[in-house]
Amino acid sequence: MAAFKHPQILLASSLADGEVLFLGAAGWERDHAKARVARDAGEASALEAFGKAEIAANRVVDVYLADVEIGADGVPTPLHYREKMRIKGPSVRLDLGKQASGGA
């Protein structure tokens, strides 16, 4: 297992429509602000294990952990620009993706 350096959240894509999902306290969320945050390696492993079970149950695809930083408001924001893009939508079409409905 890689060294645990940053808090992490679990991302996936919805099987039905491909939309980016975040594992929250009560299941998959479409808003990253509701993502459950793993603060140590054990919590991260638990998130990953849950994600694998969800893949096996054919509810989501393409599950992985992403490093985040926690803002003053407690909201996790991905550190890498790829995932920063995924929580919003295309940077060239602000009317599309999660940002279109003010969700990001």
Binding site: L15, R82, P90, V92
Partner: protein, 573 residues
């Protein structure tokens, strides 16, 4: 009209596009039904993602960064007005009101839902379209010159050949699981507008000393992480031997192409590692020893296909239009459009119009559903209901009377489709990059937009002249950056987007892979660097010289040196 309007018949079908026969229609319909069942089983949990992925890819369905993406084939780039309208209807009903025209004569929808994709494929099948073999390790959508059938420099329309190859390669049992994807392009003209030398197989129609038409065959071209210009494997293949010869090439590739490493699995690597002479020897041996009767060329079948691509009923017109001349004088903006976006046509009194999908600051290749309908209407009013999609991500109206150009321009202008920049510095090829693509390592569209805005002045663009900028958001090179006169490659460097710049790429018969200018630069620096390059070219060029000609004459080192001085120690450039 809806995407499922079955009342549509073919009265407005252009006379120069292939029409499905009963076999084609039944085949595509069966594939849709098959995929509908696969999607049902997937959503019901009877198929895992690993089991389902090959099925969805065989039908052009990817999972991208924000959603699924469906890639629709536009064989050899030819579309009817009816098909274009159907693409628009699908964009409205199942997507988000737009589509993205790609560098391989496809259209991509960026937001389809998995559950809707069988309905989308059914709507496509109703207008003789599909998404078969737009993905996967098979022979992909065969592409061709977008000026096919109308270019004055043409030896023969390449589309009958492309359609012939499409029928041969569709669901080919031996070549459905190749080591990697396989791309074929065909050109029939003296000037290559299909980039045949950067395809796995490139075919150029030629006439031999006996006056027979056949094919020059190039093998092993391609871009991606290991770019190569294709090598000539045969100077002349008679039409009668074409399928058998291509079959022989495919067999050699299928047998000897590497499968141990997906990055080395393309035929270009085989050609590079074994050498073209060894590959030629193997192909010729296969060709000589195979049972060619199975692949025998049926002239009647070729003629049947070719009959779909006969010229439309052109009027007998004077070579030059007085009405056009007067309108150009009276309306300078229109005059500029004609100068830049209108090309000569083989029929007197007609013209080929390139409709740029690159408005200043726009997203290269994107068209709204409303724009697609305007283009469909325009093609019916002014061009026998036929359109083409170019590998340069533009739309072509191939049969416009010179007398109609002004009325066409007004229609296009009202729809934001009259940007007079075809072939100029803002006519930028760009892949979707990290704004959409899960493989990308950096964004490419915003770079194209920034450069386009920097050179927004169209009169300045005309002074600069022909200059192809091509941008890719990763090393897979969907934006063809290697063959851009100025190529830009987006990568990740220390957690940031970084852009490498190459000069001297060329996608035509004089194909060349661009040379690296120096270390990568930031997104913000790219427009400045491009402007420095262009300014240096303008200072150095001789009368009538294009960018690529100046670069070839004075050499890469001069460009590199001057850019290094601009960046002082070169660190920023």
């Amino acid at each position: 009209m809806t995407a499922h309007d079955t009342t549509l018949t073919r009265p407005n079908a252009p006379v120069t596009t292939y029409r499905y026969d009963d076999f084609d229609a039944a085949f595509v319909k069966e594939r849709v039904a098959e995929f509908r069942e696969q999607v049902r089983r997937r959503l019901a949990g009877n198929l895992t993602e690993d089991e389902f992925r090959p099925f969805r890819l065989m039908n052009g369905l990817y999972l991208q960064l924000h959603a699924y993406m469906l890639r629709v084939a536009i064989p050899y780039g030819t579309l009817s007005a009816r098909q274009m309208r159907r693409l628009a209807d699908i964009a409205d009903k199942y997507d988000r009101g737009y589509g993205h025209f790609t560098t391989r004569q496809n259209l991509q929808y960026n937001w389809p839902k998995l559950v809707d994709t069988p309905d989308i494929l059914e709507a496509l099948a109703e207008v003789e379209m599909h998404a078969i073999q737009t993905s996967g390790n098979c022979i992909r959508n065969v592409t061709a010159d977008h000026f096919a059938g109308v270019a004055p420099d043409e030896i023969e329309d390449p589309r009958p050949t492309a359609e012939f190859l499409r029928q041969w390669s569709s669901a080919h049992p031996e070549f459905s699981f190749l080591p990697r994807k396989f791309k074929i392009a065909v050109t029939g003209a003296a000037h290559d507008r299909a980039a045949v030398k950067v395809h796995d197989i490139g075919l150029a129609l030629v006439k031999n000393d006996a006056g027979e038409i056949g094919y020059q065959v190039y093998v092993g071209g391609g871009l991606g992480r290991t770019p190569f210009v294709a090598k000539l494997i045969r100077d002349f293949v008679a039409r009668a031997d074409l399928l058998a010869y291509l079959e022989a090439i495919m067999r050699v590739y299928n047998r000897f192409g590497r499968r141990d490493n997906k990055y080395k699995a393309r035929i270009k690597i085989l050609v590079h590692e074994k050498g073209i002479d060894a590959v030629r020897e193997a192909v010729e041996a296969e060709f000589a020893g195979m049972d060619r009767a199975v692949f025998s060329y049926d002239p009647a079948e070729f003629e049947r296909i070719a009959a779909y691509f006969t010229p439309p009923p052109y009027e007998a017109l004077p070579a030059d239009s007085e009405k056009l001349r007067a309108a150009r004088v009276a309306h300078p903006a229109f005059g500029n459009f004609v100068e830049v976006n209108v090309a000569p046509h083989k029929a007197p009194g007609y013209a080929i119009v390139t409709v740029s999908l690159k408005p200043v600051g726009g997203i290269p290749g994107d068209a709204t559903s409303a724009q697609m309908r305007v283009l469909a209407d325009a093609s019916e009013r002014f061009g026998f209901g036929e359109l083409r999609i170019s590998h340069e991500q533009n739309v072509i109206l191939p049969h416009v009377k010179q007398d109609d150009l002004f009325d066409l321009w007004k229609l296009l202008d009202a729809a934001g489709l009259a940007t007079a920049n075809a072939g100029l510095v803002s006519d930028i090829i760009s892949c979707p990059g990290l704004d959409y693509c899960s493989l990308a390592t950096a964004r490419s569209i915003p770079i194209a937009q920034a450069i386009s805005k920097r050179f927004a002045d169209l009169s300045r663009q005309r002074r600069i002249g022909k200059l192809g900028i091509k941008i890719s958001g990763c090393i897979n090179a969907c934006g063809h950056h290697h063959v851009g006169a100025i190529g830009i490659l987006g990568l990740e460097k220390k957690g940031q987007e970084s852009y490498q710049i190459t000069l001297g790429g060329d996608p035509t018969f004089s194909a060349n892979v661009g040379e690296l200018l120096g270390p990568g630069v930031t997104a913000e620096q790219v427009p400045d660097v491009i402007e420095h390059i262009v300014d240096f070219y303008l200072a150095e060029r001789q009368e009538g010289e294009s960018f690529i000609e100046t670069w070839r004459r004075i050499g890469h080192a001069r460009f590199k040196d001057v850019l290094r001085r601009e960046g002082e120690d070169g660190a920023g450039i």
